[in-house]
Symmetry: C2
Subunit: 354 residues, 2 copies
């Protein structure tokens, strides 16, 4: 097991990579725990849940709303949860995001922790203290920064994941490699196929390295005023694409990373050979490099995305495999760049119906 600490402005957050869910009780405080999970996870792993009331939310991005949060608040109230209650989220990114938000705002904040049951949650969603719900289709528009006390990442839970979910998580691992760790990128080039088949040793190394990279960035810039923006590599377009195209988060981020890498080449920041390695790795991991979506709609969605500030946008470029840099670019430049990539977004030349 690897224990990685995030030291933000509040309590430290401990990420337990490779710990078994059977040992969960070691990390729960004395006193009352209430579990928040979803129906799928409950069915698969309920026998490993602690003895505690279990609240289930639905599955899929559509349940990540203020209405779901309100239902949970009301159930917590009816269960007489109080400031000494510990909230345990067991699930993927959606469960972790909603649980973190509800725990951070109920009675102005209860203690909470996660068991991350998907690859995406283990390498990204559960780590770093961002939580939230969507509003009018904008991802995580309502939320807070607040670290979970612990995140337990049991590799064994990943064995029940559908392959699409494994691929979904791989995109964020590639992202971490691209922004901070050329060695991890090379390891992915060598071992990508073993990773897709969930070889335990390979996958644990990938999760550990990802968490180390993300934890380091978050510890240095919890509130995303500078360095943490690098974690948005591929996400400016990725979030927008996810919204308008129906791609999974990982797929949309994959296309977003290709766009960002291409933009980096266009600006003279990145060598074309490095750009091509990015494409090759993503393809080998069965991640898409193009996607059908009208550029205008993607740009509109980008403009409403929460990372926009006034008429400029923080955009994460690559300087090399393993080295990212954040640059302010104007909305006009963004639009021009997006238009230039129409051929990528629209490989068939057809325009998607808005």
């Amino acid at each position: 097991m690897h224990v990685i600490e995030i030291t933000g402005t509040g309590r430290p957050s401990t990420i337990l990579v490779g710990e078994k869910m059977e040992n969960l009780a070691r990390y729960l405080p004395a006193g009352r725990t209430i579990v928040i999970t979803d129906a799928t996870v409950r069915q698969l792993y309920q026998d490993r849940f602690p003895t505690a009331p279990v609240l289930s939310i639905g599955c899929g991005e559509a349940v990540k709303t203020l209405e779901t949060a309100t239902d949970l608040y009301e159930t917590l109230l009816s269960l007489e949860a109080d400031r000494s209650t510990f909230i345990l989220g067991i699930g993927g990114g959606i469960v972790c995001d909603v649980t973190g938000f509800v725990a951070s705002t109920f009675m102005r904040g209860l203690r909470f922790g996660f068991v991350a049951t998907t690859l995406l949650a283990q390498v990204d969603a559960s780590v770093g203290g961002k939580n939230g719900v969507n509003l009018e289709g904008y991802k995580n528009l309502i939320g807070t920064f607040n670290q979970p006390e612990f995140v337990l990442c049991d590799m064994q839970l990943l064995q029940t994941l559908p392959e699409a979910e494994v691929i979904n998580g791989m995109a964020e691992i590639v992202k971490h490699a691209l922004i901070a760790d050329a060695g991890l990128f090379a390891f992915l080039e060598e071992q990508g196929q073993s990773a897709l088949s969930l070889d335990p040793a390979i996958i644990e190394r990938l999760v550990r390295d990802s968490v180390v990279i993300k934890s380091g960035v978050v510890s240095r810039d919890e509130r995303e005023t500078g360095e943490r923006r690098k974690l948005n590599f591929g996400h400016t377009f990725g979030h927008a694409l996810e919204k308008v195209s129906g791609l999974s988060h990982g797929e949309a981020v994959s296309v977003g990373m290709v766009l960002a890498a291409s933009l980096s080449v266009r600006r003279g920041r990145l060598a074309a050979a490095a750009h091509d390695r990015v494409i090759r790795l993503l393809r080998s991991l069965r991640l898409p490099c193009t996607a059908p979506a009208a550029v205008g709609r993607v740009v509109d969605a980008v403009l409403k995305d929460k990372k926009r500030e006034a008429d400029r946008i923080h955009f994460v470029m690559l300087e090399d495999i393993g080295r990212a840099v954040v640059e302010d670019i104007s909305i006009a430049e963004l639009k021009a760049a997006a238009a230039a990539f129409e051929c990528i977004l629209q490989p068939t030349g057809r325009h998607a119906v808005p």
Copy 2:
């Protein structure tokens, strides 16, 4: 003008006591501001508002809901608010509580500040970083701790307050005196009548002393894990009474303080003479010392109040005028004490209809 700083875990919060609203622009950052206010304040003081979009919420505790917050989120989205937008709440406690919550959760937190337009907001609600909305009648059940960048307290704005609102604010000033400042208590005994008639020098001293006391406590214990609980003096029963009786916040807290002072005498903590001084001062300020409400319902409401932890409750007692102490008491003891005070809650012997 008196400038008082709160140093919590995040940015410092600056309270400007006696600053004129005309000088507001000095404290607003460059860039875009959006104002949140209510219809009454807007009508009275719109001419002093900064040039900015103005969002109005309704008046009264009933608007302090997640629905109101959601309306504000949607309006902020339609105005294309982003992470660089500054949110300015102009109003009383309800405007400040809702504005603080919305600003703290929209895009995981925008910068924000307040112009406090009521005595209650100046001495209490706007200061200290607590925000929130009600859920199912429970006050501030959903919220966060997050300090406003500044709170501007212009005494001149108080001149338009109805007398009931002045009395409402006086209860919290008495509370601050009781928990921390015997000199302020004596000053209130001497100058209470001038305060009620809003003598500018008197009222500024009261606001300043209150803010100094509250800021000191909050700086030492922002998240209410210890000393900050003293600020709940009179509020355990006060909140519950407010919920079940229809009393104003100040009136309910006044009765709650009488109950807490009486309980302190019963436990041998407080001299009877001090208890009687508390009653005399509250009466002279036209605050109630008794209230009609069935004890059972008040206790039920206390048990669901957010300050409850498991089967014990933190209860703030007085040791003397100007000195408070927090003690854990059992729910059983609380019920017994409440029953013993039935005569205070039910002076006529009648039971209120539930």
